[in-house]
């Protein structure tokens, strides 16, 4: 791939163009619209390649970030294929090299890189057209790109992209390729079939856990059972294993015995006693009851960060016709990805000073894996190859680096390739959890259903400060997102935040703060509507139609669309009730109407969900629908049953039997309406989650008179097979 490089200093960005055997590869070294991580490119190889055209007419689009079901492989490839003028069915997708990749986070995968992939496709198309024009000795205006070929419009001669590729590879890269107007799109905006799906129905899709390296040993991780615990003594190697590798707060048990397998290691680990661990002195305080008491105390004192302040809430409360105050609590939650954490590593040579390192990992952050590997091995990034595998769910857990570091250290310690697997219990008990949270919301109402004062104090562990960031005056933005900058008309508002210094590690759980604050805010709005004696939809519509917030009009449209879709104004079937909620997250506005019944105590049935979503422009409405459905299920399971408690530093949840999730028999019918408002494009991987918990809570309160303010609805749930 590096035999010949033609570099051009473009006026917009620097591009490079590579010839490859029998075809060519279009490469950009600096992306437009990239985030901070991308601005650190150029890459190890100096090249970011997005499109590969083979002599056999294969069209391959290379996409980064990592595919975990969110559809990034599809969305960005659609953009490149659109401009390249190729048939979608011909397109193959491969992971982009890690050095050029990026973090899949913040629902930004497609939104932030669509322009780059459009431009890459357009530049390649123009070069292929120029190559055809040269071949025929005609002007480029006499040539037309159609379905992977270029046609001479005067003679109807045709050359294929594969035929044109060698000449195209010698031509200059256009500085400003002409982009197709949106009105002429053939692929973007359609329900194009996902190219990753065929391999996912025949068992051939390779996830991280499926990596196979010749001669690899198997390994499992076992962490100290108590959070904060460390390894006191390295245990002797038990029967059924070949080595124990000490790893600070854990050990890896490794086997290269004949017939070695992951299960045999899990069995072998049972022979290792508990005396090998140091237990932290404060273990007794690592307790959910203690945490809850701390949070409630912090709610009433502590020095808050002011996330948002408009007007004088104290004065407004003093003159309000009615004031309500409500407190909402949410538990710690694990990610519980279907695919446990894992990583496969091969060092070259296996022992001694390494010269190369290869890593097969399910990762949301291939470029971070590269940096981690460089740090751990001491090798330059150019000596490291990361193979980003399919992720069996990521949900915000798989951009952490703990499992990567452990696998590299283990492979280096035993001097052979290693696949390291986290048994399910390790995955559940050593997560970086969604923070627990307590929110107290006070609302001052006037006599006609308006809100004159709004205050919301949130107490939760800070993801950012746990990662060593010094918080500014507004605190941890993740802790208050979804709680501030609300689109409603409030006469005054104060949103503040108190850090809860709990040592339980917290991280980014699909939609991060939005699922926490969205529940509190949209429940409280409903309670205010009840207090005002106004229908909850009408109440929200009034707060939005009178608001000057820049998102108020779009929010109103989405809310109203969901209400119509969910039959809000029609009679509710006997024994059922509907609830509604709307939350903006990552720029995407989602409203959901939940229709429930509760025929038996300790359960409810979610029959239907109507969901309206405005993400500006949907690249693939079918993928948007899938992400909304997925988000609703994720939020439903969490609201109904999701909880992880701590006793003496140990999690009560070690497997799915204590972490119940929605299954087919509990699945509602979800209807999704995608609204193309034409606003700036925004992401869809996470925003489906936040509205469902409050929509259900609002329906449940209406149905039963019982307002659920503490999630989950039904703690202590278990799941059988």
């Amino acid at each position: 791939m590096s035999e010949s490089t033609i570099s051009k200093a473009g006026t917009i960005d620097r591009r490079e163009f590579l010839k490859v055997t029998g075809g060519f590869l279009l490469a950009f070294t600096l992306e437009e619209g990239g985030n901070r991580a991308m601005a650190q490119a150029p890459t190890a190889a100096g090249v970011t390649a997005f499109i590969r055209i083979g002599a056999d007419e294969t069209i391959t689009i290379l996409v980064g970030g990592g595919e975990m079901g969110q559809g990034i492989f599809t969305g960005l490839s659609m953009a490149a294929a659109e401009e390249l003028m190729v048939k979608w069915e011909k397109v193959k997708v491969e992971p982009l090299t890690a050095a050029s990749s990026w973090l899949s986070a913040g629902s930004g995968g497609i939104r932030s890189r669509l322009p780059t992939f459009l431009k890459a496709g357009a530049a390649a198309r123009e070069m292929l057209v120029s190559a055809a024009a040269q071949t025929w000795g005609v002007a480029t205006s006499a040539c037309q790109a159609i379905d992977g070929t270029v046609k001479n419009t005067a003679t109807n001669e045709v050359l294929t992209y594969g035929q044109l590729a060698p000449l195209a590879a010698t031509l200059p890269v256009p500085a400003a390729p002409v982009l197709t107007p949106a009105s002429a799109y053939r692929i973007i905006g359609t329900a194009a079939a996902r190219p990753d799906i065929p391999a996912k129905v025949n068992g051939s899709a390779k996830y991280g856990l499926d990596a196979v390296v010749p001669g690899m040993a198997f390994a499992i991780i076992k962490h100290a059972p108590t959070m904060g615990g460390t390894l006191k003594t390295t245990p002797s190697v038990p029967p059924g294993a070949s080595a124990v590798v000490p790893l600070d707060n854990a050990y890896a048990l490794v086997s290269w015995l004949p017939g070695a397998n992951t299960w045999a290691l899990m069995e072998a680990a049972k022979e290792i006693g508990s005396s090998i661990w140091n237990t932290p002195a404060n273990a007794a305080l690592l307790d959910s009851t203690v945490f809850q008491n701390q949070a409630m105390q912090l709610l009433g004192r502590g020095a808050p960060y002011i996330a948002e302040k408009v007007g004088d809430v104290d004065a407004a409360f003093a003159t309000a016709a009615q004031v309500i105050e409500r407190t909402y609590t949410l538990p710690y939650l694990p990610h519980a990805c279907m695919e446990v954490l894992n990583c496969t590593v091969r060092m070259t040579p296996p022992t001694g000073t390494p010269t190369a390192c290869e890593i097969w990992a399910p990762t949301q952050a291939p470029n971070s894996v590269l940096a981690t590997a460089s740090t751990v091995t001491g090798l330059p990034k150019t000596a490291i190859t990361v193979y980003p595998m399919f992720m069996g769910g990521g949900l915000g857990r798989k951009f952490e680096q703990d499992y990567i570091t452990q696998a590299i250290r283990t492979a280096m310690a035993v001097g052979r390739p290693v696949k390291l697997t986290w048994p399910r219990a390790e995955d559940m008990t050593r997560d970086q959890y969604r923070p627990m949270a307590v929110s107290r919301i006070r609302i001052g109402l006037d006599a006609v259903g308006g809100i004159t004062a709004w205050s919301n104090r949130t107490v939760s562990p800070s993801i950012q400060s746990q990662r060593g960031r010094v918080l500014g005056a507004t605190g941890d933005s993740n802790a208050t997102e979804g709680g501030r900058a609300l689109p409603y008309k409030f006469g005054s508002r104060l949103v503040d935040y108190v850090v809860h210094p709990s040592p339980i590690p917290v991280g980014y759980w699909r939609s991060v703060g939005y699922s926490i604050n969205g529940f509190a805010v949209e429940s409280a709005i409903d309670e205010a509507a009840l207090a005002a004696g106004v229908d909850p939809l009408t109440f929200r519509q009034q707060l939005l139609s009178t608001s000057t917030d820049p998102l108020a009009a779009r929010t109103l449209a989405v809310l109203s669309a969901a209400a119509t879709l969910g039959g809000w104004s029609t009679a509710v079937p006997a024994g059922r009730a509907r609830g509604i909620a709307v939350v903006q997250a990552f720029g995407t506005i989602v409203a959901e109407v939940a229709e429930i019944s509760a025929p038996v105590a300790g359960d409810f049935i979610l029959h239907k969900v109507a969901c309206a979503v405005d993400c500006g422009t949907a690249v693939n409405p079918n993928s948007v629908e899938a992400q909304m459905q997925g988000g609703i299920f994720h939020g439903l399971s969490a609201a109904k049953w999701g909880e992880l408690k701590w006793t003496a530093g140990q999690s009560n949840v070690k497997n799915f039997n204590k972490y119940r999730m929605t299954r087919m028999k509990e699945a509602p019918v979800i209807t999704v309406q995608v609204i193309n408002s034409g606003a700036a494009m925004s992401g869809c991987g996470e925003p489906g989650v936040p509205p469902i918990a409050p929509a259900i809570a609002n329906a449940y309160a209406k149905l039963t008179g019982n307002r659920i303010r503490n999630l989950p609805f039904f703690p202590g749930a278990t799941m059988g097979g």
Binding site: G69, Q70, G71, A191, R194, D196, I197, P198, A199, K200, V201, N202, G203, S204, A205, K206, Y207, L209, D210, V212, F218, P258, G259, N261, T262, W263, A264, C337, M338, E339, F390, M391, G392, G393, L395, T421, P423, R424, N622, A626, Q627, Q629, G630, I632, F633, H634, L636, N655, F656, N657, M661, R663, M664, K665, A667, V669, I670, M719, G720, G721
Partner: protein
């Protein structure tokens, strides 16, 4: 040595008889289409067919599997054209896809037993956990396959 008949092929494996079939498939025979989810017989990600019946391979020992006919996702059809596989693509069912091997094997066993399952049959049989929440499309795909595509 234990002889296993998997996807029409005979395999000799040398592991203790209480080893779960799942780990022989994945770690010894490298038939990785069958997935590890929970390892405690709850999530059904590891579903395979034993003598045509859906079984959790994490909870089915090599000793018990010996002499029986085992089918994994790799062997469901020679070329990925089982009606369920086609229906799964038509409905664009998978997201992350990790649980889908087990889903498809569970559904295939259901259709062997009940070629035209009701909603209740589907709800009863499909106990598989899918964190992505593909249930609605999975149900549609099963019905599509049952109705001839």
């Amino acid at each position: 040595m234990t002889t296993l008949n998997i996807n029409g092929q005979s395999y000799q494996v040398d592991v203790p008889l209480d080893t779960p079939l799942l780990w022989v498939l994945r770690d010894i025979l490298f038939l990785t289409g069958t997935k590890y989810g929970c390892g405690i017989a709850v999530c059904w990600a590891c579903t395979v067919h034993v003598n045509g019946k859906a079984e959790k391979s994490c909870d089915y020992t090599v000793g018990a599997a010996a002499g029986k006919t085992i089918t994994t996702i790799e062997g469901l059809s020679p070329d990925g054209t089982h009606p369920l596989q086609k229906a799964w693509i038509a409905e664009q069912a998978p997201q992350c896809g990790y649980c889908q091997s087990g889903m498809i094997m569970q559904a295939a066993a259901l259709l062997l037993e009940k070629p035209h399952p009701s909603d209740g049959d589907i709800n009863g049989a499909m106990k598989n956990v899918c964190v992505c929440g593909t249930y609605q499309r999975v149900k549609a795909a099963i019905k599509r396959a049952a109705n001839g595509g």
